[in-house]
Amino acid sequence: MVDRFVTRGFTGRRDRGGGTADAARRTPPGQYLTTDFPVLSAGPTPRTPLDRWTFTIEGLVREPVTWSWDAFRALPARDWTVDISCVTKWTKLDMRWRGVSVDTLLEGVELGDRAAFVIAWSDGDYTTNLPLGDVLNGAAFVAWEYDGRPLSPEHGGPARLVVPARYFWKSAKWIRGLRITDRDEPGFWESLGYHNRGDQWLEERYGGD
């Protein structure tokens, strides 16, 4: 641990993780636990009618694929219970989602030889970038339900990406597609001072961390 300046008079409440060792172990450095589900976004909440909603995989694929809302919802889905950490410092344990894994989505396309990165893009022009390895093998899914109910618009509904092993800005709200690329292109927050990878266990919050 790097040298830290001891703050006069600060002892702390020591209730991190509600006091349980398990919760403390699951809380990344610099984070605090919350039971709320805070909302963070940079602008107005986009609203695309479901009859015009599509999800597309494009870029370095042999044939792009596009699903309608109904077709997307008919993909093999499963329940996920994951811990989420936001760069604004809250961590919420055991968040329950339902959705389809990115692995399943990519079964619908044939990746090009040079495919190495993925850009998630959303309504409202939001983007975020990830190495393909960060979204494969069960590491990421597109969710349309949270806690047994349809995902609300302010939380990213109708559907959002969820990448539990990265800070939550990587979990693009209002997702509409994935673009496969051979080179890394910084997304919205990654271009505005936030870390390119965003691993919460390494506290990769801001560029240079």
Partner: protein, 248 residues
């Protein structure tokens, strides 16, 4: 490679009561690289045994004050950092901090067009940095501006006197208050939660070409951002910061 945003040691050089539950802390940071109005900092407190906590706070002060940063902090009853700042911290104490952070919810005088601000409670803090920055610019450079500010009770209005003074300067800034829980006798401002009609009435004199910044609890931000888009502001001119639970 980008170099990391370094942790710096800030010294508290002033503490001011803003309301019964909100205080401003003036911090001296000799090597502060300056900031843009709307940005925030991360604060880190460490106990003698190494136990450490971090929180983010918006910067309240304008960037023109070299080496000085004001943070305005609401005391959250079960908060670990805000209770320390309110109850224990004193002038002369030193605190670790790094920043500035955030590159989207920012405004400075070079931006063209009017400035329209909507705040709920302590959401006014980053917007105050914008208004202080605006007030420090040459009069002919100050764009038309408006702040619609929602508080619960009159005694909870943060920066009330300073906002009154800024709005009285006759330089094109208008401040509208709304009180959602109780009103003093003779209250002439709005008396309800921010709604589309209130937004339309206050945006109109500022102008539809405005850049809008909204900061407050999620429900307020959702209401205001969606209404401003319906009123004709392009979505990329409506920028938001939120805090607090989602309410759903």
């Amino acid at each position: 490679m980008t170099s990391p945003i370094a942790w710096r040691l800030a010294t508290i050089v002033g503490i001011r009561d803003e309301t019964p539950t909100v205080k401003s802390f003036a911090l001296s940071i000799p090597d502060w690289p300056s900031h843009r109005p709307g940005q925030h900092v991360d604060l880190r407190l460490t106990a003698a045994d190494g136990y450490s906590v971090e929180r983010s706070y918006s910067i309240a002060s304008e960037p023109e004050r070299a080496g000085l940063v004001d943070l305005t902090v609401e005391r959250i009853e079960d908060g670990e950092v805000s209770t320390f700042l309110h109850d224990i911290a004193e002038v002369g104490d030193r605190i670790e901090l790094r920043g500035p952070i955030g590159g989207y919810f920012v405004w400075d005088i070079a931006a063209a067009g009017p400035l329209y601000l909507v705040a709920g409670g302590s959401g006014v803090v980053p917007l105050m940095a914008m208004l202080r920055h605006r007030a420090g610019a040459a009069a002919e450079r100050r764009p038309r501006a408006g702040l619609l500010f929602s508080s619960r009770h009159a005694e909870e209005i943060i920066y009330r006197a300073e906002l009154h003074r800024l709005a009285g300067a006759g330089d094109g800034l208008t401040v509208w208050h709304t009180l959602t829980r109780s009103r003093p006798d003779g209250w002439a401002g709005y008396d309800r939660r921010i709604d589309e009609r209130m937004l339309a009435e206050t945006l109109e004199p500022v102008g539809i070409g405005a850049r809008a910044f909204i900061c407050g609890p999620t429900a307020l931000v959702e209401t205001a951002a969606n209404a401003l888009v319906r009123l004709g502001l392009p979505p990329d001119r409506v920028r938001t910061e939120r805090f607090g639970p989602s309410g759903t």
